[in-house]
Symmetry: C3
Subunit: 137 residues, 3 copies
């Protein structure tokens, strides 16, 4: 069995941003030399997420608006008694999920034609990290 | 390490359908010969999902109604400026998630007694694909 | 390739409870001897979930309130025609997701500083089970 582990760093300009990291993940997979296996891409923070969907600006706005509708930014969260202001970012991260697993087949990401891997930042403007871990052979 | 990769194809009659694919996944696992490992089941389209839950018609309707309530079909999505009409299907896919991982123990799916693997189609009536990938030994 | 499989049992006092199981998962990983790999933590019931987020009482209440808002307890579910009363627990489980995968790096859970693994019980007061499965080397 082979494995490889790399960390991607992000510091977004906006509080919420959606970044296509498919090329970065593909590069980790290629460098690993793994032909058949899985790659896990997982946020290491509790206010960011990962998802697989379309690289189309309209749907990205729709995703953002849905998450804001289901887990709105606002003052009335219990978490804010700690002094934090970002409970909505935690909740958005839980709804979108904080990790994806992509199969590796014949040495490449085995994605459908429209599938792209996105990093979803919900509380940005500071340095945050994602782990990319490959196992296989 | 062993691995196996198969693709399941679907073409549903309805725009939205929920299909129990547990026997198909179990068959891929059995053919793989893997005794201890993981099986990843992942939609290759951005308007379908995978989940694990109950094979009971009532809960399937409840799931469908919840997803329609949280991500309703409708005309007012940014994504529709591309000419598409299926933004709700993208959003439903994100809420339910597009993949599941099931453990393989002693050569079989290690599921609880009521757990079944479902393919959730949100924009059907055309050919779509799921990847089933086993790794283990 | 190495693997290890253990089952954690829960019987909560409350119908809904959120339990930090990070030490339990870390112990399974340590005993497995796996240095590089993945650990899958997956509910074996269809009315419980797993997630990774903050060990802070306020955010746990916020998560619970969001899930109750998006999938409220109530009488009007199709699933209840079977005699069950717990459709909301199924739906909450689907929204939070029933599994997490955590990378193992240098023999330990490769989590960010605030990331903790939680078992989310949505229909408790009876014995329920989670599978923890490690693969790697």
């Amino acid at each position: 069995m082979k494995s490889a582990t790399e960390y991607l760093w992000f510091e977004t300009r906006q509080p919420r941003e959606y970044i296509n990291i498919t090329p970065d993940v593909a590069e980790v997979v290629e460098k690993s030399g793994v032909q058949e296996g899985f790659v896990l891409v997982s946020a290491m923070h509790i206010t960011a997420g990962l998802y697989v969907n379309d690289a189309e600006e309209g749907i990205i706005r729709d995703i953002d608006e849905m998450l804001e509708r289901l887990a709105p930014k606002g003052p009335d969260y219990h978490h804010h008694r700690t002094g934090e202001q970002n409970a909505d970012a935690h909740l958005k991260s839980l709804l979108i999920h904080h990790e994806v697993i992509v199969p590796i087949t014949e040495g490449a990401l085995d994605l459908g034609p429209w599938q792209q891997i996105y990093y979803a930042e919900f509380d940005g403007q500071r340095r945050k990290r994602v782990v990319v871990k490959v196992i296989g052979e």
